[in-house]
């Protein structure tokens, strides 16, 4: 471990290539914490956006036209406006309007932190895409299969939960995975509201240590590698959940 640190110190002294995260413990910990925050953000937003997708797809089949309209409005709004502006809208505009609460130091703070707004905004953004993805998956389920489930006595909710959703999920897995990859990339937007994810951590490091060039490269490589790993995991998951006899 020390030898690696020494190597990078030498690299800095002899060639001016300052990769401080490899020899400086504080910088390294900041970087890794930033990476971890990105992973956390991505995981929570994925789970929430999936839940939103499931709920939204269910509501799209609702009896009341108003409910269907509202779901459509939600989808079209979040898909056709910039996620950064959405984020700012939630954090600055709506966040401002909420009544402040007292925190443990006795100071008045907004009830939802910047991390909280980031999670909410990104989940709603990704959720809108998921609703459409699930809808497409549900449409690939033949009407006869739904009738068969009905004839067996399943209620509408039962059909959705036991037949439509599991099938729609498997059918749309490639599109869902694509959305997940985009979500991970979109977490970088949280930088703009000072959420300490990876980009923010890197920016902090390079503004102190003044090694912009090196940190930029590290950042780029880290994200590309992170996503490559994610894509590989997704591919394995897709293979595991394959429906035998269905080859789109």
């Amino acid at each position: 471990m020390e030898r690696i640190a020494d190597f990078f110190r030498w690299l800095n002294d002899a060639h001016g290539v300052n990769l401080s995260i490899f020899y400086d413990a504080f910088d390294r910990s900041r970087f890794l914490e930033g990476l971890w925050t990105t992973v956390e953000l991505s995981t929570i937003c994925t789970a929430l956006s999936l839940a939103i997708g499931v709920l939204g797809a269910w509501l799209q089949g609702a009896r009341f036209g108003l409910v269907r309209q509202l779901v459509q409005a939600y989808i079209q709004f979040f898909r056709n406006t910039p996620p950064l502006v959405q984020l700012f809208f939630f954090y600055f505009a709506i966040g401002n309007e909420l009544p402040h609460v007292l925190d443990e130091h006795g100071m008045l703070v907004p009830p939802i932190s910047n991390v909280g707004w980031a999670i909410l905004s990104l989940s709603l953004f990704a959720g809108a895409f998921n609703v459409e993805i699930f809808r497409a998956g549900i449409e690939a389920v033949p009407r006869a299969m739904v009738e068969a489930a009905e004839s067996l006595g399943y209620s509408r909710l039962g059909i959705y939960w036991h037949v439509l959703l599991p099938l729609a999920f498997r059918i749309s897995l490639p599109a869902l995975n694509n959305n997940l990859v985009n979500l991970v990339k979109t977490t970088t937007l949280a930088y703009a509201i000072a959420v300490p994810e990876l980009l923010y951590a890197a920016a902090q490091i390079w503004s102190e240590v003044l090694n912009v060039r090196e940190m930029m490269n590290v950042l780029l490589v880290t994200y590309v590698a992170l996503i490559a790993v994610l894509v590989a995991i997704m591919a394995r998951w897709e293979r595991a959940l394959r429906i035998p006899g269905y080859d789109p």
Binding site: P142, A144, M145, E147, A148, A149, E150, S151, L152, G153, Y154, G158, H162, V163, P166, L167, R170, I243, P244, G245, Y246
Partner: protein
Amino acid sequence: MQTEPAALVVLSRVEKRFADTVVLRDISFSVARGKSVCIIGPSGSGKSTLLRCVNALVPASSGSIKIDGIEVNDPALDKIALRRKVGMVFQQYNLFPHRTALQNVMMAPIHVLKQDRHEVEARARRLLAKVGLAEKERAYPGELSGGQQQRVAIARSLAMNPLVMLFDEVTAALDPETKKEVLVTIRELAEDGMTCMIVTHEMGFAREVADHVYFTEKGVIVEHGPPGELLARPREERTRAFLNQVL
């Protein structure tokens, strides 16, 4: 005095309209317990709609459909109670492709009827064995041939212990080789005493299995009778024309 076997299914002046089109008109007949009827006719004659009305998948516009005393054409119908008594097998896309054959058969009794898992599993295994697919219980529908899929679908409907089984052209999408195994299964079912309503194009099968055959065209029952008579010596011109085309 001779007592008639009790009528299990009674249709009385059933009509079905979709917007302006009349799909079923003045359909009235009954099916006695333990008997099998076949419904034949050209496409678009309303046969499938008729079955779906019996099963409450499609509400009839007017008329009465009684199954073991339950009035189907009733807005306050208890659908679960009905679905325990009536099973239906479709032409294709019956099975749930993300579950194995055994799981397919087990699902409804567990989820809908809330029966005990171990009981259901034992019953499911027996039913799969009955349709000759005991060794395929862990296969997925995508790994089964068409005929095997349809037989699993039959077993799945039987798992609900119905009084009446409805078959909607279940062999129409199959190759000739696989058709036979499915027809044999249905025939055995009928011989065991199941009350069946079968929509089919297979005239030979109708002759073997049916106690009574109904010929429908354009939503009306044109003619009906025992298969020996109707298929060999049809009275109506339209029946004759149809049979000439098919046989």
